[in-house]
Symmetry: C2
Subunit: 139 residues, 2 copies
């Protein structure tokens, strides 16, 4: 996604197109392999921390980026390419992210849900990998 499209989506949702948001958009779309909030803050020294975090929240709400958690719980953000429900495989060494969707997974999720007491309101599925560059076998 290019910055202009990203900003258009925010505009459609009723947000103003401000300088700081433009600058955040510019950086976010360039981070194909995901990033942490702090990385973004460092990359944008003249945008306030609060604004960076606020904008991240807007982008997550707009499903322009995804927020996911590393094994230790550290949050990581990644530009979302798919327009639909999906999950992520994250390289634990370099942070590279692959999105995937698998209908079998979703079917199984539904099946398990019917065996549990209560009603499923959400699920989280994340795979942790070592990518090819980082020493993992390339399948």
């Amino acid at each position: 996604m290019d910055p202009t499209t990203l900003l258009a989506i925010l505009e459609d949702r009723g947000y103003r197109l401000t300088g700081p948001r433009r600058r955040v958009a510019e950086v976010v779309v360039g981070k194909a392999d995901g990033f942490t909030a702090e990385e973004l803050c460092s990359a944008l020294p003249n945008v306030g921390r609060a604004t960076v975090y606020r904008t991240l929240k807007l982008l997550v709400d707009a499903t322009i980026i995804c927020k996911l958690a590393m094994p230790d719980g550290e949050p990581r953000y990644t530009p979302s390419h798919a327009g639909y429900h999906h999950h992520h495989a994250v390289c634990v060494d370099c942070g590279a992210i692959q999105e995937f969707r698998d209908s079998t997974v979703e079917r199984v999720v539904k099946a398990i849900g019917s065996d549990l007491e209560g009603q499923i309101v959400g699920h989280r599925i994340e795979f942790f990998i070592q990518c090819g560059k980082c020493g993992g076998r390339v399948s």
Copy 2:
């Protein structure tokens, strides 16, 4: 699990059975529905924060308790009943936790892994539910 068994496991792993650890064990085994680290600190005002966190880490390493994350990322701990690999369904309202294991899930995980670039080194699967008590349909 009763406190004595829990402590025996720690002892087997080479740790000393100290007063603070006994007290932590006592409280942890009573929290069937999971708890946060801060809850544990409050429940044990005469055990230092550092010791509470250190003991939690020991218990996670010994697979006596599981550490999992709520949708917003807040960590939650829960006594583990299963001795094998499993996942969790957490009530987003009251924090009640169900453990589950499903061989289909694990098979699908393996299948997806072979489609991804790199090698899977771990996975996280969590379901978020509303339990019966909290308004969710009882299936």
